[in-house]
């Protein structure tokens, strides 16, 4: 092989390092005007009146009455309007759109909205409206709990988390011959198409979405860009001019989606020596005011809630609840970081209660090939819980440090975790993703809707095609995602871009190779002209899943990880200084080791922020600290030394053995950190574990 497994040169070129790469805000179109969103300033109520308190000359003004077809963002449900009509369900809900060519004038325009306020609901536990309920049953938990020697209970909480991609959201809608083009910072161009078709209906059939260079996503640009694109398109259609909407940081933080806050309750039965016999788990997610992706976030959260452990009797109930807060949505990990935080802290509490070492309790219960998960999935040979656990323990000298640091302010903690790759259950089968390879005069071009958002999509896909086709890496091009020109390869989410889309591309390359019949692409092209190969994803045929009972093969494969956090607590200020984090992760096989390492390092940093720093302060249903000054993510000086260990256990269904990777590293840091704090005698069951929380945390 010439490319796979090597850290080859990135397909991005040098543009990102020269400033030449074009992000949404860098683009200018002739006659372009600027758009602005007027949002609700109350969490719940009815709109009584809207007054335009400015000279409207030169302005384009849009409200819900300008919607050509249906005023609903078409995602899992069609409950969220592009523009509120009569009722407001959360703070910062879009109501009116303005556009003007001069930004100062646009900024100065004052829109006065009068409301009839209603009592808002902020507590998901008091909510009576559930977006989704899940009940997973394995064995008989009730009787197993009755016969258990020991029962350990606990409630664990996680807060909102903001994505903080450094490029805020932004799109430009450009009217063009017979339709409209959207250029934007988006993760899922075809989601935007789906939403726009619903918004515009048959009157405007020709819409296309072109992904511009995207300054980070992490899930935050999965569904919300559909909303912004809809707004820009409405303004563009009305003004007949290109309209640019770029959010500033505060608008981006206050108005767009976040990671769902969670409350997870565990009731666990064990034998005297620490073998799990029953796990009863309840997962409550705060969904916010609209459905968005909450049902699938809950689904992934619930499926991962029992952790990477073998237990014959498991009952997992989950609820995604309505509240009058801005809708929560996709964020790297997608429900699993919440529930794996809970189970991993719970495991350390179990170990404490039984007087067992935290490594030993995991060793005793971790999943092995042949074991069945909570959904009844029988695990295959690519199951690596024990492998990553043993490697992490050995590499960090865990037992020695744990013992030696007792009684000091230094501590060490561990977490064991797993992450299902690709869409859940029948998701990939229903999605019918496609990929296409086009022959060019010099090689081939990859034409997929998968987006490069920093993770290395272009490069990794090109590596797979290079080796599957047996041509030089340099002769593989990657098309910029333009929905009118590339195949719909499904959304760039769920750690599926390598494992799933990469697999289709591998198959496309094999078919292309057959077609070339031994000729080089250039020779074939010269002789026969252009050809294309398009294929659809076929998940492994053994995958069985029942969406009603939540039983079956939830994922084709899982990535496995074990994180060890070493840290020091300042006894005066309760500040935690992470010293080192060792991330041992198995994700099949790295296509590009340096990019893979970057995913683990970056995901680990986000996990550390989630654990210690990142607190969304909600006041009256809105983020009160929507500035980078007050919502703090790790800086260079907050980050410990990171040691990444990549282990291999190939997944036969992935390209060159690769599994999904992007989300796995997000799951482990928070519980490892909190378990280290636990070893210092602090009973912490909540993140972020801020100094304020630690100052008043009960002692164990």
């Amino acid at each position: 092989m010439t490319a796979v497994g090597k850290s080859v040169a990135r397909k991005d070129g040098i543009g990102k390092a020269t400033g030449g790469a074009q992000y949404a805000d860098d683009l200018v179109f002739p006659e372009m005007i600027h758009g602005r969103t007027i949002r609700s300033t109350i969490p719940r109520g009815r709109i009584k009146s809207i007054r335009y308190d400015f000279d409207t000359t030169g302005f384009t003004i849009v409200d819900y009455r300008d919607v050509p077809a249906k005023n609903a963002v078409d995602l899992m449900s069609q409950d969220q309007p592009f523009l509120a009509e009569h009722e407001v369900n959360h703070m910062a809900e879009p109501i009116v759109l303005l556009a003007h060519e001069d930004r100062d004038t646009l900024l100065a325009a004052k829109v006065v909205i009068e409301y009839e306020e209603e009592e808002p609901l902020f507590d998901p536990e008091k909510s009576t409206l559930s977006f989704k309920d899940i009940d997973i049953v394995k064995g008989d938990t009730d009787s197993a709990l009755r016969s258990a020697h020991v029962i350990v209970e606990g409630t664990y909480r996680t807060g909102h988390q903001e994505h903080v991609y450094i490029e805020p959201n932004g799109v430009i809608a450009v009217p063009e011959e017979g339709g409209v083009a959207i250029y934007g910072s988006v993760q899922c161009p075809f989601y935007v198409i789906k939403a726009l078709r619903c918004l515009l209906g048959s009157a405007h059939p020709n819409v296309r979405v072109i992904q511009t260079e995207t300054g980070g996503g992490f899930g935050g640009k999965e569904e919300y860009p559909s909303m912004i694109a809809g707004h820009a398109v409405l303004l563009a259609l009305k003004s007949k001019r290109p309209v640019k909407i770029i959010y500033d940081r505060e608008e981006d933080m206050v108005a767009t989606t976040k990671r769902h806050p969670s409350i997870v309750r565990h009731r666990t039965g064990l034998t005297k020596d620490g073998k799990l016999v029953a796990m009863e788990i309840e997962v409550i997610l705060d969904g916010g005011a609209y459905v968005t992706l909450s049902p699938t976030v809950l689904s992934r959260g619930c499926i991962h809630a029992a952790g990477p452990y073998n237990c014959d009797n498991v009952r997992i109930r989950g609820h995604a609840m309505f509240t009058n807060t801005p809708p929560n949505g996709a964020f790297r990990g997608f429900g699993a970081p919440q529930t794996e935080f809970a189970i991993e802290v719970h495991m350390d509490r179990i170990a404490d209660q039984l007087g067992i070492d935290p490594v030993e309790i995991r060793r005793m219960n971790a999943l092995k090939p042949g074991d069945r998960t909570a959904t009844g999935q029988t695990l295959r040979d690519d199951t690596s819980a024990h492998m990553v656990l043993e490697e992490a323990v050995k590499r960090t000298d865990f037992a020695r440090k744990r013992k030696e640091w007792k009684g000091t302010n230094k501590s060490i903690g561990i977490s064991l975790f797993y992450h299902g790759a690709g869409f859940t259950g029948a998701g990939e089968r229903n999605l019918k993703s496609k990929a296409r390879l086009d022959l060019t005069p010099t090689g081939v071009r990859i034409a997929v809707g998968s987006t490069e958002i920093g993770q290395g999509t272009r490069t990794m896909h090109a590596q797979i095609v290079t080796d599957a086709l047996g041509i030089p890496y340099e002769s593989v091009e990657v098309a910029q995602p333009d929905t009118s020109r590339v195949a719909d390869s499904g959304p760039t989410v769920a750690s599926r871009t390598c494992m799933v889309v990469g697999k289709i591309l591998e198959e496309c390359a094999h078919e292309m190779k057959e077609k070339l019949g031994g000729l080089s692409p250039a020779d074939y092209y010269a002789k026969n002209g252009a050809i294309s190969v398009e294929r659809m994803y076929e998940p492994p045929d053994w995958i069985q899943w029942d969406d009603d009972t939540y039983l079956g093969d939830a994922y084709a494969t899982f990535g496995w990880g074990c994180d060890v956090a070493e840290l020091e607590l300042d006894p005066d200020t309760y500040e935690v200084k992470p010293i080192k984090l060792t991330a041992v992760q198995e994700f099949g096989r790295p296509i590009h080791p340096a990019l893979a390492q970057g995913q683990i390092e970056g995901g680990t940093a986000q996990g550390l922020g989630y654990a210690l720093l990142e607190k969304v302060v909600m006041k009256n249903g809105a983020m009160a600290n929507g500035q980078l000054t007050n919502y703090v993510i790790p800086t260079t000086l907050d980050m410990p030394e990171l040691e990444v260990v990549m282990m291999e256990n190939p997944y036969p269904g992935g390209p060159f053995g690769a599994k999904g990777l992007g989300e796995l590293p997000m799951d482990g840091p928070a519980p490892a950190v909190v378990n280290a704090l636990r070893a210092l005698g602090l009973d912490v069951r909540e993140i972020p574990a801020t100094p304020e929380l630690l100052a008043t945390a009960p002692s164990i």
Binding site: I14, A17, T18, Y23, D26, G215, G216, R249, M639
Partner: protein, 156 residues
């Protein structure tokens, strides 16, 4: 209003309280300098004024009258640090990269890892966890030949 930008004299007609960031992006059409927060927190808009890194979102253009401004475009495209950021995967999404490179430029020779961390503490990256950025910067700073190249590059 006149100043030196990337080695050439420029004259701009912007409002004196325009942010240097906006003047660079909109009047000089140099969009390599990015806006991430507008509050001096993220460092994506870092440029050098008279050799010192500053956040161009917090600088009124009146204050660069007669000064020497260096933006990412001033490095050309062959600066070794630019190449190393790509090769070492110090750039993922790339939005923080120009600012990160500008902040790293002023590091002294043979910096320690702590020096690098301190110099880049005003630049947020959400993708990399910073490790790959350290690898890129340290590799540049510990290679004499590349350093000589870099000096030439900036002078040009």
């Amino acid at each position: 209003m006149q100043f030196r930008l990337n080695g050439a004299d420029v004259e701009v007609g912007a409002h004196p309280m325009s942010r240097l960031l906006d003047v660079l992006r909109e009047e000089c059409n140099l969009t390599g300098t990015k806006e991430g927060c507008g509050e001096g927190e993220c460092g994506a808009c870092t440029v050098l004024i008279d050799g010192e890194p500053v956040c161009s979102c917090l600088v009124p253009v009146s204050q660069v009258e007669g000064a020497e401004v260096l933006s990412i475009e001033g490095l050309g495209g062959n600066h070794p640090l630019q190449k190393l950021f790509m090769n070492e995967v110090g750039a993922q999404c790339g939005i923080c990269t120009p600012g990160m490179i500008m902040a790293a430029l002023t590091l002294p020779d043979d910096p320690t890892l702590d020096d690098v961390k301190t110099a880049l503490a005003g630049n947020l990256c959400r993708c990399t966890g910073y490790s790959a950025i350290y690898r890129a910067v340290l590799k540049w700073k510990t290679n004499e030949i590349q350093r000589a190249d870099a000096t030439q590059e900036i002078q040009r």
